[in-house]
């Protein structure tokens, strides 16, 4: 198939976000061809372009640095907002208004503009002023209580899951508003609540509570609403190596028995049905562990999958480096141009493979103000001298 322009070619994004959730949303938009201009403001340094964390989430963007304490910078920002398709931030409510670039004031000049505010708790409601990071949201959204083992509520998910999901939902909302603008001709303001993103993921527990009054608890690797066993992570040979095995029906159990060499214990009649296996699942887990313990985790995976039993190694980031599926698509790929702060940098490709508008370009994250002249030239027709003047004046950095 032919290769055309990227799906979001021509879409201009003014990006005031920082840390992870917002930058992940705009990274996705940038990967797909939007012109994402990341605004670093002196008034709000956020995390620095020198950090590896920043480098992770800010590829495929251009960098503009302004001192938003200065009126000249605010005026420049105002002109940029008037030319933007998307203005996205995760400040507390009111910051953009104080800078004179709030939605209501900008939409008069740019009725098609789409504003996205990605706050922790949303802008209305008694907890709206609460401050949050992803681990805060995990706790408040029920995720921490439900991810873990019975009797403990201090485990939770081990990474900032909800920041990524907030970013993905931010991208969905932007794309939906662009589609709506096609028919209505007007933009709109989108308020995204990271708490509401997170609370959706415990939906089965919430519906069960509302319908039946049942309060779900953390259940380790047991499935709280399905009858399936063995279903868990089992230790293998080596240091902290594990394989996940998920027997979802009786046929898979029969296959697993064969893979294990049909040991005596597995012929126990109680294990013939899923209900029987679930009733005795802790003993069953012990027996399966005794089988896996001295085996290589990938060998268990290969043997199980060959027999139609769902199984997979508990892979770490280091395992990803030799993951054959990732190799087949060059999923983890070096970025050609050295990044000034970290040297060699890398990209995990956008997981979306467009047949006609493929994403092939991964540009390194940019340093503070590195694209001042290019951005202001493209968006506002400002000349190089004018930009240099602003940099000398100090409102551009």
């Amino acid at each position: 198939m032919s290769s055309g322009p990227l799906p979001l070619a021509g879409v201009r994004v003014l990006d005031f976000t920082h840390v992870l959730a917002g930058p992940f949303a705009t990274r996705i938009l940038g990967d797909m061809g939007a012109d994402v201009v990341k605004v670093n403001s002196a008034a709000r340094p956020g995390n620095t372009p020198l950090s590896a964390y920043y480098v992770m989430w800010n590829r495929n963007k251009r960098a503009l640095a302004l001192d938003m304490a200065r009126d000249e910078a605010k005026a420049l920002c105002r002109r940029l907002c008037e030319r933007a398709d998307i203005v996205i931030d995760n400040f507390s409510a009111g910051v953009l208004d104080r800078w004179g670039i709030g939605y209501e004031s900008v939409r008069a000049a740019n009725p098609g503009v789409i504003y996205v505010a990605m706050s922790g708790m949303g802008e209305r409601g008694p907890w709206s002023s609460f401050v949050t990071y992803a681990p805060t949201v995990h706790a408040l959204a029920g995720i921490t209580a439900l991810v873990g083992v019975p009797g403990r509520e201090d485990i939770g998910i081990g990474f900032s899951y909800n920041d990524h999901l907030s970013g993905l939902h931010g991208a969905v909302a932007v794309l939906a508003a662009l589609e709506a603008r096609r028919s209505t001709g007007s933009g709109q303001r989108i308020e995204l609540s990271q708490l509401e993103v997170g609370a959706q993921f415990v939906a089965p527990a919430l519906l069960d509570y509302f319908a039946n009054g049942r309060v779900a608890e953390a259940s380790g690797n047991d499935l709280p609403y399905d009858v399936a066993a063995p279903h868990g992570c089992y230790p293998c040979a080596g240091d902290d190596r594990w394989v996940a095995i998920a027997v979802m029906d009786d046929a898979q159990w029969a296959s697993l028995r064969t893979v294990m060499g049909d040991p005596e214990w597995a012929r126990d009649e109680r294990y013939a049905t899923a209900a029987g296996r679930v009733a005795d699942r802790r003993a069953l887990d012990g027996s399966v562990s005794a089988w896996t313990r001295d085996l290589d985790a990938y060998e268990v995976q290969t043997r199980c999958q060959a027999a139609g039993v769902p199984a997979g190694v508990v892979q770490t980031g280091l395992d990803f480096a030799s993951d054959p599926q990732f190799s087949a698509t060059d999923f983890l790929t070096p970025i050609a141009e050295p990044q000034p702060a970290v040297g060699q940098s890398y990209a995990d490709r956008l997981p979306l493979r467009f047949s006609r508008s493929p994403v092939t370009e991964y540009r390194r994250s940019r340093m503070l103000g590195e694209d001042n002249a290019a951005v202001l030239g493209d968006w506002l027709d400002m000349g190089a001298d004018e930009v240099a003047g602003g940099e000398a004046e100090g409102y551009l950095r």
Binding site: M1, P7, M56, M121, G122, G125, P126, Y133, T136, V137, L140, G142, T144, A145, L146, V147, E153, D154, G156, G158, S160, Y161, H164, L165, A171, V172, A173, L175, E179, A180, R182, G187, R189, E191, S193, L195, A199, Q200, V202, A203, L206, L207, D208, A211, N221, P224, W242, A244, Q305, P310, G312, V313, Q315, F320, D323, S327, T329, S345, P351, F354
Partner: protein, 395 residues
Amino acid sequence: MPGPSPNGALAGVRVIDLLDERGIYGGKLLADLGADVIRVEARGGDPLRRRGPFAASGDSLWHAYYASNRRFVTIDATTDGGRASLVALCGGADVVLDAGALATAGVDEGALLRDHPALVLVSLTSFGREGPWADYLAPDLVAAALGGVAATTGDVDTPPLRGFGEMTFAVPGAYVAIAALAALRHARETGEGQRVDLSVHEALASCLEHVLMWLWYHDRLPMALGPVLPRRGSLHWSDAYEVMNARDGAIMVTITPDPQALLAWLVEEGAQQDLLDERYLDPTGARPITGRFMEVLKDWVATKHVEPFFFESQARHHPFGWVLPPDRLADNPHLEARGWWVEHTLPAGDVVRGPGVPYHLSETPIAAPGAAAPAAQADGDAAADAVLREIGWDA
């Protein structure tokens, strides 16, 4: 028969949803935004209607939530007539969301795209279409294991753990919606449809926060001892966030973003222990080193009642998070005041509360989900044009 919201952002966008549990959340995102999403079920019913939890009536609460705002058509794609109906439905759509159902039905996807040049086909697999694992079976736990989620979740004294419910598959689900809408935009601009492939495996690996950072940049991270950070409960990679146990509940506590203010609070309560000793201060002398700070916090938090402590921490602008179990979340005054909950009408008629959507669009508000209608609005053995007429797509 429930229909799409006429005012939603995606009003008028026609979508065929052939997804299974790995991607159904993507169909939900589009449907809740107002697209006209037809979910096709095999004769005998969608297996996802048999997923728990269930209401007393036996209706699946899982299905009511994940299949919200859809219309349903039963098609027996094993018959020639059924296959023709499926092809006709897909041909009448802007977007087809598939997770293998087209291939199983013997539909020629290349011909479908050639015959309908503006059509967007989003194709979800577990591991991609090629490579040695392409045919592997990967229900939630296995996907979470190979995709790096499980290795990053759990404590030193537990096995690696999965997320709750559909947390794992929410990730590829959200990417499905992004794929559909981005390719739809391209089709609107150029008249060209296309196929978008994505795998659960890559989607999960793209959303692991520090995991790839550790792999690629561990030499530059002062806290990294190697390319992998072992799982360690709730303790964040930065060492600065952890869930701690108070007297009557748990709370996520962090020294970020203002450790000085937090230290002042400890001093105010006489709970600072030895944190002001020079040996525990960072080289600038400005604040205690993180590890010792977190230890002292743990002792202090253990003396607290969780609810007032949480509210006081937030009043002082510390981003602490009370670990809420689902019943407390269900009764949360903030979500109530925001009018977040929606009512799902189950096939048997009961009305059950459930989560709303996480974004609020000023000009194209989201409609509450309609009833989770029973299947079989159209018979798959009927002529293809009858199916289209039944759902109103014949015009």
